[in-house]
């Protein structure tokens, strides 16, 4: 959910009209001379497999469809890694594979592995990710796009890491904030896609975990509408309140519409005056354009200068994955798979990721352990975990599947 801010970007262009590439090359060259590292670089090849956009237009004209969602985050992290790599004699190379929606994921994975790629980022949905894993042999795969809880549980694999937050982490993060607000009576409106069903399931688990009550639940009777129609709000303004009229009394209306079919129509159209949250309105996300604490503005600026758009949570997950590999190679002092994996799996792994504390990987399901932003469309409202919740290990483990409840056996 990102918007292009043309004002901000034109300002950026004014100040950084000098060719970014030439500056970067200049930097690298200067540093190379400085360190007199003449030896041939050790290389880390990282694969990226993603899909072309599905062609669906967003409900809101403010949203843009990114052709390079995830990929742009990986590319930036490659540059960041190579800045350190210059001093270490290490070089990071991205092998990009963007496939048609029905493209052959297995063939792409095999091609990467045969080209000596040991690390692959997957910007694929769950089923295609499993196809990739079946074909990728021992390569370590970073899931940067699929939020499915089952991938962290029954379908987990020893060589599968997740830098994208699970649905459960997102609903836990939102739930903690709602409990903090004492908005404990929730009404649910859920879309009719399989993703929406999983989202509703995660939300119910979060309600159970933190003590909220779901007082009503309705399924939105979705039929595909024309995305662009002049004056569509006339109908929306009549239909939505009537649909929401019979919900039991609630503190907040939670909408689950992951596929962007109807959720954007709900805020301000409720029968009773209540805030709206979930996948629209007040949302939980690992990354947001309005996030400005802990140096986040630096990452926004670096990203936007290169990609000419805002960084999405998938871009962020891809950035974290590639930076994790960079950190592993730096700290291990090696580009070999063994030492890098040892560092990734070890206790000392930590990465600065603009969230105010190090991000790490959970040992039981290899999910990134990270704070989650709670945000409206234009501002960050809070960051979970919320103060006051307790955990014997780290408060971050109050978000998502904890060790005791994991279904991951690999």
């Amino acid at each position: 959910m990102y918007l292009n801010d043309s004002h901000e970007q034109s300002r950026e262009r004014r100040f950084f009209s000098s060719n970014v590439c030439s500056r970067l090359v200049g930097t690298a060259a200067g540093l190379l001379m400085a360190t007199a590292l003449a030896a041939a670089n050790d290389q880390v090849r990282i694969g990226f497999i993603g899909l072309e956009p599905d062609g669906q237009e967003p409900v809101s004209l403010l949203d843009v469809v990114a052709e390079d969602d995830g990929l742009a985050g990986a590319r930036l992290a490659i540059e960041d890694n190579n800045a350190t790599g210059t001093f270490m004699g290490q070089e990071f190379i991205l092998e990009e594979k963007i496939l048609p929606r029905d493209g052959d994921v297995a063939a792409a994975a095999v091609e990467l592995v045969n080209g000596d790629v040991k690390w692959i980022l997957s910007a694929l949905p769950r089923e295609k990710l499993n196809t990739l894993l079946d074909a990728a042999g021992d390569a370590t795969v970073f899931n940067v796009a699929a939020p499915d809880n089952v991938l962290r549980n029954e379908e987990c694999r020893a060589n599968l890491y997740h830098t994208v937050a699970s649905r459960r982490m997102l609903t836990d993060a939102l739930a903690q904030f709602l409990i903090y607000k004492r908005w404990t009576r929730w009404a649910l409106v859920v879309g009719n896609t399989p993703e929406d069903e999983q989202g509703a399931e995660a939300l119910k688990q979060s309600a159970e975990r933190f003590g909220a009550e779901i007082v009503s639940e309705k399924k939105w009777p979705h039929t595909p509408l024309a995305r662009r129609s002049e004056g569509g709000f006339h109908a929306i303004q009549r239909e939505v309140p009537v649909f929401l009229q019979d919900l039991e009394d609630h503190d907040i209306l939670l909408v689950i519409d992951e596929t962007d079919y109807f959720g954007e129509y709900i805020p301000h159209q409720t029968w009773v005056p209540r805030p709206v949250g979930g996948t629209q309105g007040l949302t939980a996300a690992a990354w947001h354009r309005a996030h400005e604490s802990w140096g986040a503005v630096q990452l926004h600026r670096r990203f936007e200068r290169r990609a000419n758009r805002w960084m999405s949570p998938v871009d962020y997950a891809a950035w974290v994955a590639v930076r994790s590999l960079g950190e592993a190679a730096t700290r291990a002092g090696s580009v070999e798979e063994g030492p890098m994996l040892d560092y990734l799996k070890g206790e000392s792994f930590q990465l600065g990721a603009y969230m105010g504390e190090p991000v790490t990987f959970r040992s039981w399901d290899r999910q990134l352990r990270q704070p989650i932003l709670v945000a409206g469309p234009r501002m960050v409202v809070s960051v979970s975990p919320q103060e006051g919740f307790l955990h014997p290990r780290t408060l971050l483990d109050t978000l998502g599947d904890d060790e005791a409840e994991t279904g991951c056996k690999n």
Partner: protein, 325 residues
Amino acid sequence: MAYRLKTATALIGALVLAMAVPAHAEKIFVSNEQDNTVSVIDGDSLEVVDTINVSRRPRAMALSNDKKYLFVAGGDDEAVDMIDIATHELVQTLSSGPDPEVIRVDPNRPYIYISNEDDNIVTVIDYEKRTRVTEIPVGVEPEGIGISPDGRWVVNTTETTNMAHFIDTEEMRVTQNVLVDARPRHAEFKHDGSEVWVSSEIGATVSVIDMDKFEIKHTINFDVPGVTRESVQAVGVELSSDGKRAYVALGPSNRVAVVDQETYEVLDYVLVGQRVWHLALDTAEKRLFTTNGVSGDVTVIDVETNEPQVSIPVGRFPWGVIVVE
């Protein structure tokens, strides 16, 4: 409640201290990142006596070599303000390059070294001629800058590259690089120039770098009892001139670590205000001033007893602190 009581006795302590030391007209300047101001605290009364409007997002500050002027980096205005220490008037505003965060002054020349966080460079400007001397390429997100007492070396830390880059100030280029822990924030030279101490915010360590070998000779870890590992983040560092004590601001753990400069042993943790960021000793090195960003105040610590003496409310998000006699 216990803290309040302590503050009350501390106040008396501060008064005694103030009476014992003859009036030395010391001023403490504090940059308030969110207010676009610098608070001026009187060293005797420990009260804010003036508030100076400066460029937007003021963070690091430095003194001119004649100690007549205070430089304040204004990140959002791409400027360094030059303020007359006697009158608190703005003398001039220097162009700094994009997003200046940390600044240091060359002890031998009228040069200011500026880390441009957004542009992967250190900019050097001449504050007398008002010209740009040079730009030095470094790693990603340059932040901390330290300068050796003899002015020979400038060290710059880069937050994403996780390195301390050593700039030879005769050649104005990077000649040495040392890998440190995650997100290095601040660099402070020992007064004899033999070591530079580099703090890492996310790594929660201080790397002590040997200036003869350009190697880490010791890494200081911080383990604050009863505080989660995540909230311990090393940021500001201050070193006493006698080579005995070091002070490290530990961010959201709300503690300042007291460290033995010779053995690197952590001797004590002092509870201060919320999200402690930077530190400065007074000229007699009897009091330590800390900026506490979230609670919006400055804590004064008696360095003999390591006890917090008093909290002074300043502006919003106090960032840097500098003491001038």
